[in-house]
Amino acid sequence: MTTTVSNLESEGLPDPTGHPDEMDRGKVEGKSPTRLAIERFRKDRLSMVSFIIVALYILGGILAPFLVKFGLLDPTSYHQDLLNEFTLPEGPLGGISWKHPLGVEPGTGRDVMSRVWLGTTLSLTIALIASLLAMAIGTVLGIIAGFTGGLTDGVIGRLIDLTLSFPSTLMLLALSAPMYALLTKNFHVPEGDLAWATYVVVFLAIFGWPPIARLIRGQVLSIREREFVHAATLFGASRFRMYFKEILPNLWAPLLVSFTLLLPAYISAEAALSYLGVSIKPPTPTLGNVLRDSLNYAEFDFVYFFSPAFAIALIVVCFNLLGDGLRDALDPKSNR
């Protein structure tokens, strides 16, 4: 994000040997619109806080598999010895101890922090891939629809209407078994977690792109009437150049904002799907799986109930705040 297309284009150019007889000489470096946006963003404290939390989540997500490998996180071992005769964790607040900072799971005695942490990683990964896919489909179709217009625009527009009018949640539930079979048998996706994750990612992406495409189409409709697009036409710019070099750099702002708003929506959606049992199945922890299990103990083990819910709420709120902050930073004309 720190490098725009234009920066890339001016890189590698030789340093000009200046004319020393004029003032105003020396190395003149322009501030790109992106650079200015970052400077504005930095001044916004709330956005910076949410940015740091999001960054920590992502860092934690990347680290989680290694921590499991080195035995620092252990989401699967049973610790029956830490449970009392009602299979509830012994000790205060769900059995919080140095070894188990968020206590242990009632019934099995698995480490809650490990399960929530690893669950966050899995949920975040699924949401990230799904939203990137949805963004890619939506952006390409939106640019093509907006720039080409006419019949192409009409076809894509109807496709958007069609996709949006599908009862996606019902279909997701109804199609889960046959699609799972299709993925494992015909596409040779390994059975189990990976197949379920693939199903959820593909499904979220397929039903997630239409709003992006609509947004981008609208933006492109206004951009294509600007004179620099005509100028590019006059130079004989190819379609590819037009889409990706002239128009796309002007779409980073809405793209980034919608991405930071789509991702938390997908985190919640994935949690809901795990809860409904059409995403990755237990015992593999996802935020939804842990949450579903924890609901059974809402009365007896508050910490266990609270942990996954808080993990979901925090990341969703922070991503949303980040998106709002980015919107303000990228569009200096918008009022707060």
Partner: protein, 415 residues
């Protein structure tokens, strides 16, 4: 002289005081037409009808905006033709047709003898090098996400004219030509003022060394003092590189300075076309006269000899449903019955002067009888005249003929 040898003049350092002095303060006299130059661009009966679609799913065509309706003119090599008219008269559309941003409904655009009116995108690509455009709004004509170097160098990269390493020196050279600091190649458009941005746009249009530049209101978005600088820059460029200009503007003073030839458009048609003197001192069309009377004149204001302002009644009619006959008749002070029945042909009334009016004449000297009735084969009210036969040599041509109807002497004029 080539691009390489050219050193920009010091045109920018002057601070002109009044509008009257502005255009000549940098030593740039009014442009003179090149003598005997061959036409580089011939536009012949160009038409552009934009369909008006009904809303809803079916989107039937319910009408047409007749933005440009049968326009013919010529631009000579190294010359410049001014295209003036009020907003919505089709002058910008004409410019975009010639650069082929639009495909015309009918008519011909002959560039160096080749008709490009309906050329396909692939055939157009080599032509794009020769016809370039300067845009009106310097705030939207530069991609805000590209550096100045990327903007000016893009045409070179697209047409693969220069190897990558030579693009930057060329970009800096162009920046110098338009009077900007060549070190500013890695700045972004938002760091420049309107006038500087327009210079960047001009540099970009020069990148491919075009033979024809379509300047679509190149100075109307700028400050008056900046306007003069930019106009002078354009003149320098024309003089040094011999670029032909189609100069679209609504400012008659700028056009008078820049263009040896001027065409006046009204509602998609050319109503009067001629050299500078014919239009500014010898206008025969009531619309041209009205336009000219609206130009503020500092000298006349000072001496108190301000001529009467001709006020046109009403608004410009809709180009979807233009008036019958002469399109100007609804607002014309001298319109008669024939004007509603017949469209006036573009008559040549001077060596380089054509006018489309049934009653052409200097201000206050318009003839009582339509001069065109004999040619059209009708009586003075415009009804068919059984005694007369329509003239056959009324075919409109882009250029000027060797013979014309001399209105003062009532004879046929010859070169």
């Amino acid at each position: 002289m080539t691009f390489e040898e050219y050193v920009p003049g010091a045109a920018d350092d002057h601070e002109p005081a009044t509008m009257a002095d502005m255009l000549t303060v940098a030593g740039n006299a009014a442009a003179v037409a090149p003598v005997g130059a061959a036409p580089i661009l011939e536009v012949d009966k160009l038409r552009m009808y934009f369909p008006v679609k009904s809303p809803g799913l079916l989107r039937r065509t319910v009408g047409h905006v007749q933005a440009v309706d049968g326009v013919s003119f010529q631009v000579v090599e190294g010359g410049s033709l001014g295209l003036v008219g009020e907003s919505g008269c089709g002058k910008s559309t004409t410019g975009r047709l010639i650069t082929r941003l639009y495909t015309p409904t009918s008519g011909a655009i002959r560039f160096q003898g080749e008709d490009i009116a309906h050329a396909k995108a692939r055939q157009l690509k080599p032509l794009r090098r020769d016809i370039q455009m300067i845009f009106q709004d310097p705030y939207t004509s530069l991609n805000p996400r590209h550096t100045v170097g990327a903007i000016i160098g893009a045409p070179l990269a697209i047409h693969k004219i220069l190897p990558k390493k030579q693009i930057l020196p060329r970009v800096q050279e162009l920046l110098e030509i338009v009077g900007l600091n060549p070190e500013h190649y890695n700045r972004y458009p938002h760091e420049f003022s309107g006038g500087q941005r327009q210079r960047i746009g001009i540099a970009r249009s020069l990148t491919l060394q075009p033979k024809l530049l379509v300047a679509d209101e190149p100075v109307s978005a700028l400050d008056v003092s900046i306007q003069a600088q930019v106009v002078n820059l354009l003149q320098d460029i024309q003089r040094e590189f011999g670029v032909a200009f189609l100069f679209i503007a609504h400012d008659l003073a700028v056009v008078r300075h820049f263009c040896p030839e001027v065409a006046v458009m009204y509602l998609g048609k050319i109503v009067e076309i001629g050299d500078r003197d014919s239009i500014y001192n010898n206008a025969h069309h009531p619309y041209t006269q009205a336009l000219l009377s609206a130009v503020p004149d500092v000298r006349q204001a000072a001496t108190g000899g301000r001529r009467e302002r001709i006020r046109l009644e009403g608004d410009v009619p809709s180009p979807i449903d233009p008036p019958s006959g002469c399109r100007f008749r609804t607002r014309c002070p001298i319109a008669q019955e024939i004007c509603a029945r017949h469209e006036p042909p573009l008559l040549q009334i001077g060596q380089r002067h054509k006018v489309a009016c049934h009653f052409p004449g200097r201000l206050g000297e318009a003839p009582r009888e339509p001069l065109t009735s004999g040619l059209l084969g009708v009586d003075r009210e415009g009804r068919p005249d059984p005694g007369a036969s329509p003239s056959t040599d009324l075919v409109e041509q882009p250029g000027f003929a060797d013979t014309w109807f001399d209105l003062d002497k009532k004879t046929i004029g010859r070169v």
